[in-house]
């Protein structure tokens, strides 16, 4: 479908390499287009807002939908004195927390929304302050106000609550989980996040377009390549520069290596959470070898700050290509042996199979994205659906399963490691010659660009608006964890409390990526 049903205005194509269209809409079209998107089965990728009062345009609400032809970004201008837009969470449940976060940061209201509890605002700023408004006094110190969040209560005989967090038992990010249980069985889980809110979107305003990739690469530590690449796509779109082929291939090399690194780590941790310490030792060893070669070739174990606006900050030579190919083959062989051990290990399979199940129907209705989506029958993979250079000629093999349990999410990781190892070898040996970095022209004020990348966890999306003198006026970085956190709450229902770490790890969502 080329355009959204219900959209009467003709969208204009956005600049840049991502296939995307943009349309300004009124309130009626905002909701009609959302209905059309919902009925036609399109995904809501992101929802955010901006303060445009300086340009006498009041506030703007944005929604980005994924169509078969690419992205469609809708923008609704709202008057400064009454900034509200029709609620989307009734059609797209994933919009719920995005709308609440947008209100906390900007004070724009999702009219008709059932849930209006704060999300990012825990008491660090007051109810009538909105950090992303340009008249917000970011420098003044505020005393934290008491934080009383109204969790949904489950009542009934024998029901009790287990509050967990924000500090968890392991070496992981902070968040609060409220389990309502009977005996060991979980009736309901409600997550409350926002603890790692660092004011990243406000901080972007201190950066030039040419330097924002460093901040984007620190939105979620394990997705530094995906977010930095998406940011650079947006920066290059507003600056009007086409990146050389060699840079695109080198970026894809890093993206596939990030995918392998995270999948290796997750498989080890999943084995460990099922009581199989051998898996942790083996996979952590492989991951360590993997990131050590990153440090050697790219100067950083996670390839941080290697993708920069205009290209890449590194290059590789023939000997290093051989290192990459050799390592990909070694890891391929080792993972095959470990996969057989996983498959044959009845104790571990017993913990994985049917645990934390998300059916394809539920995944579709709630918008489960990325890797977890592909384990629940949602086939979206940008590398296949909208292949840009170099993916167009690499013909990525899509992995889709339907079981939707921990076992399926484990299997998707094994399959994707094998495919990414093939891609690493194909990219390394197929690198086109030429420049790897072009200078970034100063973007015109008001320029709007987007980035859209299939990271290891799912779609990373960036919307960027240029300000005066090459500064960033507004930058929104969207991590796919926004879509997937609510599904973790569904996946645990009916399972036992001790399986929560296993289920949670099988999604491995980012806290920082959403808290921003």
């Amino acid at each position: 479908m080329r355009r959204l049903r219900g959209l009467r205005t003709s969208p204009r194509a956005l600049p840049g390499e991502v296939p995307a269209a943009f349309a300004g809409v009124d309130r009626a079209q905002w909701i009609e287009a959302a209905r059309g998107a919902h009925e036609d089965g399109h995904r809501l990728v992101a929802l955010w807002g901006a303060d445009h009062r300086g340009r006498r345009h009041g506030f703007t609400a944005y929604a980005a939908y994924a169509l078969d032809s690419g992205l469609c970004v809708l923008a609704l201008q709202m008057p400064a004195e009454d900034p509200s837009y029709p609620d989307l969470s009734g059609l797209f449940p994933a919009a719920n927390r995005m709308q609440r976060a947008t209100f906390d940061l900007l004070g724009i209201v999702a009219e008709g929304a059932a849930d209006t509890r704060p999300w990012l605002r825990h008491g660090a700023w007051s109810e009538r302050e909105y950090p992303l408004r340009h008249d917000f006094d970011a420098a003044s110190y505020r005393q934290n106000a008491p934080d009383r969040y109204p969790f949904v209560r489950v009542e009934g005989e024998g029901v009790h609550e287990i509050p967990v967090g924000p500090i968890h038992a392991g070496i992981i990010e902070p968040g609060h989980f409220r389990f309502s249980v009977v005996g060991e069985k979980v009736l309901r889980l409600e997550a409350r996040l926002g603890y790692t809110h660092k004011g990243i979107e406000k901080r972007f305003e201190d950066f030039p377009v040419a330097g924002g990739h460093r901040l984007a690469g620190r939105v979620s530590g394990d997705s530094t390549v995906a977010h930095a690449w998406a940011y650079c796509q947006a920066a290059e779109a507003v600056a009007g520069v086409a990146v050389p082929s060699r840079a695109k291939w080198l970026r894809a090399l890093l993206l596939e290596r990030e995918r392998v690194a995270n999948h290796l780590g997750d498989l080890g941790a999943l084995g460990n959470d099922a009581g199989f310490g051998f898996a942790l030792g083996q996979f952590m060893r492989l991951k360590e070898d993997w990131v050590r070669l990153n440090a050697e070739l790219f100067g950083h174990r996670f390839a941080r700050d290697c993708i920069v606006p205009g290209g890449v900050a590194f290059d590789i030579d023939g000997a290093q290509v051989e290192d990459l190919v050799r390592q990909a083959r070694v890891v391929h062989g080792e993972v095959r042996v470990l996969r057989d051990i996983f498959d044959e290990h009845s104790g571990m399979q017993d913990r994985f199979i049917t645990t934390g199940r998300v059916t394809p129907e539920l995944a579709r209705d709630l918008g489960l994205a990325g890797l977890a989506g592909r384990a629940s029958g949602q086939p979206a993979d940008l590398r296949v659906d909208h292949p840009l250079e170099p993916y167009a000629e690499l013909a990525v093999k899509r992995v889709t399963l339907t079981a939707g349990d921990v076992a399926a999410r484990v299997k998707v990781r094994f399959e994707e490691i094998a495919e990414s190892l093939r891609l690493v070898e194909a990219i390394a040996t197929g690198l086109p010659a030429g420049d790897r970095l072009l200078p970034l022209p100063t973007p015109a004020p008001g320029g709007f660009g987007i980035g859209w990348i299939e990271g290891w966890r799912g779609e990373s999306f960036v919307a960027l608006e240029a300000g005066e003198d090459g500064a960033i006026a507004r930058c929104h970085v969207h991590d796919p964890s926004w879509q997937n956190w609510p599904l973790v709450e569904h996946a645990i229902m009916g399972n036992i409390v001790p399986d929560f770490p296993l289920i949670n790890k099988s999604f491995n969502l980012s806290y920082s990526g959403c808290d921003a």
Binding site: N144, I341, Y511
Partner: protein, 181 residues
Amino acid sequence: MIPILLKVLRTGIRSEEAPQVREEWRVRAASMQGDILRMLGRALVIRQVDAGSCNGCELEINALNNPYYNIEGLGIRFAASPRHADMLLVTGPVTRNMEQALRIAYEAMPEPKLVVAAGDCGCDGGIFGESYATRGGVASVIPVDVAVPGCPPTPVELLQGILTAVSQVHAPEARITSPRA
């Protein structure tokens, strides 16, 4: 079972030597007795607290448990509760939303309370700085003994920071050496 044993045998032992301490990362003078430090050096329990990091530091702290760094082989392990911990290992620019939880964890620790701040953000707020949402470095919220720079610090650097905190200035005999050595 046989494939598992074969894999273990073929993998062999990969553990590497413990690195040297880095006195220049010490924020405040060691206040503890040498004999206590010696004891902790052989059985140190750490509670890690992510006070708002991007999760990059946690990836590297987790790597300390891999066979190369084998931190448990040095007598150091991570605990689930601050009540069982000798040291807090804190990351992040300390968000205002985590400030209270960090204070509670610190107060729950038994004396002596060692604190290592990890990463550029833990040192001074890093790229996020101090803002409406962050307090900046860990030392702006709780006392810090050693601050380890890096974005993120490598596992070797993290280990150096941890070992520095349990070594003592001017008392080289108290410094930890690898029990494997």
